[in-house]
Symmetry: C2
Subunit: 221 residues, 2 copies
DNA sequence: CGAAGTGTTGAAGCAAATCAATTTTCGTGG
DNA sequence: CCACGAAAATTGATTTGCTTCAACACTTCG
């Protein structure tokens, strides 16, 4: 599976990979860097609805659903692998791979549910704190974070677009988190001195990330 | 497929079908009535993250993901069919059915994305208007709505839990929609005199519901 | 007929948006 | 290596949408 996605191309920051309405012929996989799903609102603002980290598949949808209902863009510079939809469909015939891909979809969906709860029900400061808890674990799973330090190159405006708040308020919320000593954010690096404290603070429960269930369910079959 | 889900049991309103942390042995299907997915917040409030309408599958997840990361409850009285997880796994081996179920998952996810945009980016009044637009189309697809009239038995408190707002504000927002003549809500029935007007008002774009793509993608295979 | 649940209204308070200006950082070319 | 311009971060003042609290009316149903 990895072999197929071995070759990748470099994509600059802030470039669209796929746009709403497209029916792309390839499925995209992020190998390095951060990307995002987004939708444009009628008001003209961009709403980011998912962060795509190394190892994440961008648009498995198109193999099944047809037209894209949202767009995908890089945030940082990325290494992106592409696999033709036809190849994916062949792979899907293999029960194990099909199941793994389905797991991937369901995992995305679980994150989306938690984001909905997060945006709909927490104050700005806790919302950001919660997001950072998730990011830490997801990056750890991808082998991209160690002892509470991780690469965080997004601008405050991008963070604001993700959390559904103004950039001014994102700024002030970050300051609060810093003052509370919950995070250290500097030089595009995010340190979380006490992850458990941040998790308690934000009401974070990692169960929705279903850590480890891939391998387990693979062994089951 | 329908044959397997032919038998169903009656479940009263406001009953849990599955709880967070469960590993249910059956997959549930709503045949009649309204149900919802929800999560409890640390504050103790319930957040509804999806509405489950007739024809919707509740928890295909468990067949792949294992443990439930959220709960499911009826809103109204429901007819619920249950299919053992094992049977679902067997069915999944059939490529067509597997694909149809996958489509179902992806369709859920698309709705979730739109809800995230909706909650994160629109005012209370437009948020509710948008939700009603979606409900109308989904019920139409399920053969449960005709010329702008549909059954809407939810309380304002339940609506508020869905939209991430206080029940007081849900009440006031509904009044605004009524005053504007965009909806008529009475006797548990929702009338939408001019659906297109409501769609324009709320910035609704139905593309994310992928109407008709099931059959098309089935024919493709 | 009374009690509980649901819907409605008013007033006060708060979180976040908005607007606008200023400072800091960063990338680029001289 | 420094100077410059643009992007990003920060701050203050004001406004707004929404929450909260509290009371009250209406409906539903045993």
């Amino acid at each position: 599976l990895d072999a197929i996605a071995a070759t990748s191309r470099r994509v600059g920051p802030r470039e669209d990979l796929i746009r709403e309405g497209d029916r792309p012929s390839d499925v995209h996989l992020i190998k390095e860097g951060y990307a995002c799903r987004y939708k444009m609102m009628e008001s003209g603002e961009r709403k980011i609805i998912a962060w795509l980290l190394p190892g994440d598949i961008c648009d498995l949808h198109v193999a099944v659903l047809g037209e894209m209902d949202h767009s995908i863009a890089t945030l940082t510079e990325c290494q992106v692998a592409q696999v033709p939809v036809g190849t994916v469909e062949e792979l899907t015939r293999n029960e194990r791979i099909g199941r793994a891909l389905w797991w991937n979809t369901l995992s995305d969906e679980a994150i989306l549910r938690e984001w909905l709860v997060n945006v709909g029900g927490r104050t700005a400061v806790k919302r950001i704190a919660h997001l950072f808890c998730e990011l830490r674990i997801r990056l750890k799973m991808a082998g991209r974070a160690w002892d509470g330090a991780l690469w965080f190159p997004l601008t405050q405006a991008e963070l604001a677009e993700t959390m559904g708040m103004s950039n001014v308020h994102a700024n002030r919320s970050l300051q609060t988190l810093r003052e509370e000593g919950l995070i250290v954010l500097d030089d595009k690096t995010l340190h979380i001195p006490d992850p458990e404290k941040l998790e308690r603070y934000s009401g974070f429960n990692p169960n929705y990330l279903h850590r480890g269930t891939v391998s387990r369910s693979r062994e089951d079959t």
